[in-house]
Symmetry: C2
Subunit: 277 residues, 2 copies
């Protein structure tokens, strides 16, 4: 998916919601465990209930890998289902990959060819040649970790360089020259929304993937205030707050309600900050 | 595997060789493509030919993932085969994982429970809570990226902090307090062997996983000179230089010869630097 299509979908749905499919097997509603593929059955129901409020889905690869081959099958089925039933969805492989060039090339093949994801999250530590292989695909995206939502972000991402810049700013400045705002996005945690103002001085137009709203405590209002661009420029993720809001037979219905609540708040924010005008 | 067992295996085999199973399907000898599982057939032959010279194997997960479910099956079969036939082998999942705590916990389950690896490579960017879930397992190891062998290492790993330290040193100093030298190792590329001297002042006793000898241009002599401890303290990886040294029907025999050459050089270095005395 290219940038223009993504923006059009956001405008059409009045939503910049990404639903995180962190579909941990042990957390699925009991009645689904009789299904042939409980994880896929869960994802399918969640997707059908939330797709009208959602522009992106983000399977977290760890939750599939941890089920071995069965998990990988659930993931492939989920991607195929989204591709056939909801072709306007932006698909994110949340994989946090990154390795030397010949290895990153294999990871890119996995997520862009084996499975038809639009984008993959990548860790920056190994630098340019670990990211470049993902950038050789047309209309595919790298979503690079910049400032993550977790407590451990403070261990290294805020180390100040001799130039007076925290590491995450060095990552933004350096890496933004590797691609452009049509093939790179950045992960910036909602729990650090106040940093979005300075981040926008470095990358004024890149899309940001923002985790951490909901379970992790981040505020959607703050994220929009400091991070929104004239084209929205945000994909805000919610995982557990939507998919595990209800563990009973009504889980999908509840997920739909939670997604709709966020979509309504997002529509108001798109209006408040004069997007698409 | 615990540290004492690893050291005993190194002493017994007079080798600190790790063979990287970067078993890229398109590079396999032609005659193997008729096998039901060419990647596993290749790995099995390579393992049988090299195991007597080798203390560790390191499947690079990217090369399996990129074949989808079939690749995951090849990986599981390879791990099972190593576990049943060569129980004294140290097994490294070269996966470069790392995410927020609840996700890293899933990655740890994948590699330590679903598959019985001894260790997994982890990227440090997301800090303590992205690493900690891997450290909760007895006799399992995190191998954290510190200073990688690729050109991109210069993008961020050498950024100097206001304390005058390059980032990779900050990573070593901070992260070495998260575990100990019985459950953490570090990746330090052979292409930067001259930095091993200062690295050893920070982590004098941790094992190092050293890629980059061979195809990437690093020197085994330099690595031993600057990085070896009284217990060896090194696992030096070679991938392409062994497994793809020969693309004909003799590929396994050649791999055995290449592994033996490295083992002999390693035996001399263990003696030269008075290990195990």
């Amino acid at each position: 998916m290219n940038k223009q299509e993504l923006i059009e979908n956001i405008q059409k749905k009045q939503s910049f919601l990404c639903v995180g499919l962190d579909s941990e097997r042990s957390k699925l509603p009991q009645h689904l465990l009789n299904e042939a593929d409980p994880v896929f059955a869960f994802n399918k129901a969640i997707i059908d209930a939330t797709a009208q409020y959602t522009v992106a889905y983000k399977p977290n690869i760890a939750f599939y890998e941890s089920n071995g081959i069965a998990g990988w099958q659930s993931l492939e089925k989920t991607v195929s289902y989204l591709r056939s039933e909801y072709p306007d969805i932006f698909l994110i492989a949340d994989a946090k990959r990154g390795d030397i060039g010949n290895t990153s090339k294999m990871y890119a093949q996995t997520f862009f060819e084996q499975m038809n994801f639009d984008s993959v999250t990548v860790a920056p530590y190994m630098g340019y040649d670990s990211v470049q292989p993902f950038l050789t695909y047309i209309n595919k995206w790298v979503i690079l970790l910049a400032l993550t939502s977790n407590q451990g972000a403070f261990d290294f991402q805020f180390i100040t360089s001799q130039d007076g810049k925290p590491l995450y700013q060095e990552v933004l400045e350096t890496s933004s020259k590797w691609g452009n705002n049509s093939n790179m996005m950045y992960v910036v945690g909602a729990t650090k929304a106040e940093m979005l103002h300075s981040i926008r001085t470095i990358i004024p137009e890149h899309f940001l993937l923002v985790p951490g709203v909901g379970s992790q405590g981040g505020s959607l209002q703050d994220v929009a205030q400091y991070g929104m661009t004239k084209d929205c420029g945000l994909l805000v993720n919610s995982s557990r707050g939507i998919i595990f809001a209800d563990s009973e037979a009504t889980f999908a219905e509840t997920a739909g309600i939670k997604a709709q609540e966020l979509q309504k708040e997002m529509a108001e924010l798109l209006q408040k900050y004069n997007c698409f005008l």
